[in-house]
Symmetry: C2
Subunit: 391 residues, 2 copies
């Protein structure tokens, strides 16, 4: 009966792919999952204590807006990146950055509007745009088999993909899964196109604290003329190991923030959640730096291991905490490789095809386990890769 | 610039009405708000401690589903109301019942589908349906100036409003703002229509613990043949004074729950939030009963006070914690009355028109302050009403 009642767009969204891997996961006890970007670190204790104190003080009521304390902490934080944010009118808080992205795209996309999305990238952008009936225009990353700069945004392809129906471009900077950190030049070129051809930029910057270089993180919003046509999407999940807390935010012009607030999804995170978030942003950042240093070690270690595996090539990410090795040398579609690895090696990775058509031939490894566990996972990957090379 | 970029549906959603009252609210210090259904009670301490304990134990990670513990607590809770719920496949958890309603309507409504909504009722149903491009068909409550049964669902009007495009009916049982508790007979008649004319019922039951009678709470889902065509919407907000926690849920057939899960709004409430919710449902309910008894006293007291005010008639609610007095005798539109009361009496109520066209001539009083404060509010209402009667 439900099929008949379904909203039409939903029927096209279902993915047999993830279902296939979900079945394997359910059938495989002791599976180690490196498939989800959920840090193994604990939320810093002072953040938890701030939430508890606020909760005990009775701050458990509806909150339909961002609290002044959190809005000011956000404005001050983005001030460090050169963005002038009016805490009163340019910030909206959401139950996670997923909801912020949903609200941003929902506020602007009409059916048949076109939205430019780099490929491969975080799949929720396409899922939401599809759900809204918009037309997704994939812009493949330029790919090279180099240790650095393996993935670059293809500015010329982007230019050629713009039409009068282009409403927005989504970028993830630094990018999940490719690790691409958009350079100042690339951001300037994108900004020029956005202004010239009049489209918005949704800039998902949730990995901005995890930068490995070369280069530093720059937000496109600080480029002259871009503040009012950029919606920055941010989260506390990755920076502070707060994935479950469901708190994220958006920064944009007062007009766009007001449109986003019009999406009827109910009240936002309450005062005690916002207190935790404000406490996180206000620092100290010691634990963030500890996590960063640990990610750096995991990257170095795993890259070294992957380098020794025949049929696999892995470049160094410039940001975020994923590796995105090229496994095309193993001659198997990414989903099949993941299935074999899960069944035989008891390690789950995310197949590259799940991040867009250009992700085929790759797998994403989330570095969310300690090195001894990652070591075991690398052993498993090596074993499966070798067996495939032989067969 | 933002107007140009807006999704079309959003532009029609903006309400100058609430903006007008928001301006008054901002200009009026010491305003007492009885405009929002946010209980003044504190979340019971054992629920907070459960959240804290879970948070400290590290349950702060992504959770994409309902936890087994919470699903079983929900199944057991609804078991008491005669609904057999499979915890594995028939429950979905959301960041508040607002998100559950959004997901339910988003999962089923295509543009131009028709959705039946009683009038007046909780305005989010219409806001979401409008946003989705569906056609809203208002079914006015039958209204009578009687102390009980002032608002009854108009089954004949409902029958005549059904067309081949009718996809769903939304009911709020007991209803916000009218206090109408749907009787077993009414629910059976609605169920017959739903089965005969093949539409779904979204049944928002978030006030189910606050029943004043006559009659008991029944869920339409337990009527034979209705489980698979009902989506129950529930919340922890009202029952346990957890409005800010943002946790609610839906119960329906596995197929409909699976469709709802397809709405791409990101991860759900994390384990420590779900732990709090499961703890709440598992009891003890002592504090819920205390709140209930206090609401009962507030209702009795305020009804008595309102009875003495010329130009106002207030019936007794059968459920929920609102009064919805008829103020048409005062000769002012509900929004104007609310504006005058806010400016002169420093009390904010919700204008009836905000709940639908048939709400005009009424105001909603949320009984979310202790009796001494409500007493002050009744004084203010009396004073403004008398001044209007004279003028």
């Amino acid at each position: 009966m439900a099929e008949k009642y379904a909203k039409r767009e939903l029927l096209t969204l279902r993915s047999s792919m993830t279902q296939r891997l979900a079945v394997v996961a359910a059938q495989t006890p002791d599976l180690i999952s490196l498939a989800t970007g959920d840090p193994d670190f604990d939320t810093p204790r002072h953040i938890k204590e701030a939430a508890y104190g606020s909760m005990m003080a009775g701050y458990t009521h509806y909150q339909f807006s961002v609290t002044q304390e959190l809005a000011e902490a956000i404005a001050s934080y983005y001030g460090k990146y050169g963005v002038r944010v009016d805490p009163k009118s340019e910030v909206a808080v959401y139950a996670g950055s997923g909801m912020a992205i949903f609200s941003a795209l929902s506020a602007i996309l009409n059916p048949r509007d076109e939205v430019l999305i780099f490929d491969p990238t975080y799949p929720s952008y396409s899922a939401i745009a599809s759900y809204l009936g918009a037309k997704i225009v994939h812009v493949p990353f330029l790919k090279e088999r180099s240790l650095h700069d393996a993935f670059r945004p293809a500015i010329e392809t982007l230019r050629r993909s713009i039409t009068p129906n282009t409403k927005a471009l989504v970028i993830c900077n630094p990018d999940n899964p490719t690790g691409c950190l958009f350079s100042d030049t690339e951001l300037s070129e994108i900004a020029e196109l956005a202004k010239e051809r009049d489209f918005l930029v949704i800039s998902d910057e949730i990995y901005n604290e995890f930068i490995w270089g070369p280069g530093n993180f720059t937000t496109i919003s600080k480029i002259p003329g871009m503040h009012d046509r950029t919606i920055i999407i941010m989260s506390f999940s990755k920076t502070f190991a707060m994935t479950g807390w469901r708190i994220g935010y958006a920064i944009s012009s007062p007009a766009l923030i007001s449109l986003m607030r019009g999406i009827p999804t109910g009240a936002g995170p309450c005062d005690f959640m916002q207190k935790a978030a404000a406490t996180a942003l206000s620092g100290p950042f010691d634990e963030v730096y500890k996590m960063k240093s640990e990610y750096q070690k995991r990257i170095d270690y795993c890259i070294k291991r992957l380098k020794e595996i025949p049929g696999i090539f892995c470049s160094k990410p410039q940001g975020a905490f994923y590796l995105f090795p090229d496994i095309s040398g193993l001659g198997k579609p990414s989903i099949d490789f993941c299935e074999v690895l899960a069944r035989e090696g008891k390690v789950m990775l995310a197949p590259g095809i799940g991040f867009g058509p250009s992700g085929e031939g790759y797998v994403r490894i989330a570095l969310v386990r300690p090195i001894p566990v990652l070591d075991q996972c690398m052993d498993a990957i090596e074993k499966v890769a070798k067996s495939l090379c032989v067969s």
